[in-house]
């Protein structure tokens, strides 16, 4: 204010003695103007963040509209409980942040620091849960650019076991991801699992079957005849010749009647070590033309809960990656590509927000904020709430696909 001080200006902006906070920058007249500018600038910045995530939401929307079955399929690999907990964690941290702004406005420094610490811990908790989710997915081959696979352990009659990595692709198989350790043919699935099966069948019929019938996306025959991946076909893809699925040792798995196999075996396999027990998934696949009810009756699963539509649905065998067409392989990428992009960028923002909160907390410890000056707390709060806002949309879109 050098000029203004030496030459009191006619507008008399030196008269505002009460507002000459040491925080007032030289090009503003009042704190209100400065705070208003800061908030306006922050909101404009938040708009850029919204537009940036908007691009990701756009990619999500386009691909979900194009391949709803891929998203339904993919989302069974996500843990809704963890997602919901993370939502709650972020909401709580948003609350502590909002409370922190209040504390700053009221000059309650100790409370402010405590609340900022709690908010930071919320971020830590969120990222911790994300870490658990990410690692469990990476462990199961659910990387951003990998096919979704599971391992099939087969016991031969001579007692040897072999492990085969089988890839799953939408359209060729579906997954029942449920609570509890369900193994096909062992025990009865819960009503929840049947519900999910029903659900999946419904979608399968609606989308996948249509494409199967109309567009000939028929993996098994296509691949057998196309000659692609011959070696693998010999080894694994023709389940009739593969002992992997005959499972003679276990009476419960003695399901595969040879009479079903001419058109392709009905294959059941217990997923062994690829998923945590509470998350066991089961691949159910066949391309037989037989009624599904047979299968269910033989396996001792009540068929009553399965809708009649499901009975007409053909199933496809989980196929080997190499035998898929390029397009089919690529479809398997989509959900997790988008999942990792969205949650990854969001996670990055959480980390940035945590950094900002730590910075503000350190300044708050030094007593920098009070009723006169609390703009940084306010702005960091806005940023943190925006991160929360984005998660509010990400959660149902990624975890709660119906």
């Amino acid at each position: 204010m050098t000029t203004a001080t030496s030459h009191p200006a006619p507008d008399g902006h030196d008269d505002h003695g009460g507002h000459h906070s040491p925080h007032l920058a030289h090009h503003f007249y009042t704190m209100t103007q400065q705070v208003g500018s800061a908030k306006l600038g922050m909101w404009a910045f938040l708009a850029t963040e919204i537009l940036m995530f908007g691009g990701l939401f756009c990619a999500y929307a386009v691909y979900r509209a194009l391949h709803p079955e891929v998203f339904l399929f993919g989302h069974y690999f996500l843990d809704t409980n963890l997602g919901a907990i993370n939502t709650a964690v972020l909401l709580l941290s948003s609350f502590t942040m909002a409370w922190g702004v209040r504390a700053a406005q009221l000059g309650q420094t100790t409370l402010l620091v405590t609340l900022l610490a709690l908010t930071f811990l919320g971020g830590v908790g969120f990222m911790g849960i994300k870490y658990v989710e990410y690692t469990s997915k990476f462990d199961h081959g659910l990387g951003p650019a990998q096919g979704i696979y599971y391992n099939v352990t087969t016991e031969y009659s001579d007692g040897n076991t072999a492990q085969v990595k089988r890839y799953l692709v939408p359209n060729s198989a579906f997954i029942i991801a449920g609570e509890g350790d369900i193994k096909y043919g062992v025990g009865e699935p819960t009503s929840d699992q049947l519900h999910q099966l029903d659900d999946a069948l419904h979608y399968h019929e609606k989308y996948a079957l249509k494409s199967h019938a109309d567009e000939g996306l028929h993996k098994d025959h296509a691949k057998a005849e196309s000659g692609k991946g011959d070696e693998h076909a010999e080894d694994h893809s023709d389940s009739q010749a593969t002992p992997a699925f005959s499972g003679e040792a276990d009476p419960h798995e003695h399901l595969v009647d040879q009479s079903f196999t001419p058109t392709g075996a009905m294959v059941t396999s217990a997923v062994t070590d690829t998923r945590p027990p509470e998350h066991s998934a089961m691949a159910l696949a066949t391309n037989g033309s037989f009624g599904l009810s047979d299968t269910f009756e033989k396996s001792g699963i009540a068929t009553t809960s399965v809708s009649s539509a499901a009975l007409e649905v053909g199933f496809y065998e989980p196929t080997l990656w190499d035998t898929l067409t390029e397009r089919e392989q690529s479809l398997a990428y989509q959900f997790f590509s988008i999942y990792y992009c969205m949650t990854g960028l969001h996670g990055l923002h959480v980390l940035i927000g945590m950094g900002l909160i730590a910075w503000v907390a350190v300044r708050a410890l030094g007593g920098a904020f009070g009723p006169e000056y609390n703009t940084p707390v306010d702005l960091v709060g806005l940023y943190w709430h925006l991160v929360d806002l984005i998660w509010i949309f990400l959660f149902p879109l990624l975890y709660l696909i119906h």
């Binding site: 756009c58 919901a84 709580l92 709060g381 806002l389």
Partner: protein, 139 residues
């Protein structure tokens, strides 16, 4: 000569000493009452539960409306977002233009998504369907 028909005051809303800046300051620093913060938190958590619960019901079939589940999930998310923006982010007491920025940015996101999604099906029509047809012929 005067270059402006109306005499122009040498003060504006920031420099005018008569402007009640204390009152302004209260606007800029509206202190949200505690009960409101807690209330909003409880509401947000309840709405989260509702979003999850809604997926247990197949609304699409129940009401025979396609994608009703998605619409409901997004609707609940929007309500949650509105509460966060209004109370946690102080928009309710903030300058209206800041709210306009938020609404405008959302509108532009919707614009981008809606027009792009209109075009998203083209790859199906122009690329995937012909490819599938070719593979049928090949068999």
């Amino acid at each position: 000569m005067s270059h402006d028909p109306e005499p122009i005051s040498a003060v504006n809303e920031w420099t005018d000493p008569s402007t009640d800046h204390e009152h302004d300051a209260e606007h800029a620093h509206h202190v949200v009452p505690m009960w409101l913060l807690v209330g909003v938190l409880v509401l947000l958590l309840a709405l989260t539960w509702i979003t999850v619960a809604v997926t247990w019901i197949d609304l699409d079939t129940m009401f025979n409306v396609p994608n009703l589940n998605v619409v409901v999930a997004l609707g609940v998310a929007l309500v949650k977002a509105a509460f966060v923006a209004f109370y946690f982010m102080h928009l309710r007491w903030d300058a209206p233009f800041n709210g306009l920025i938020l609404v405008a940015s959302l509108a532009f996101v919707v614009l981008m998504i809606s027009w792009t999604i209109l075009d998203g099906q083209e790859i199906d029509r122009l690329v995937e369907t012909p490819r599938a047809a070719r593979s049928v012929q090949a068999n």
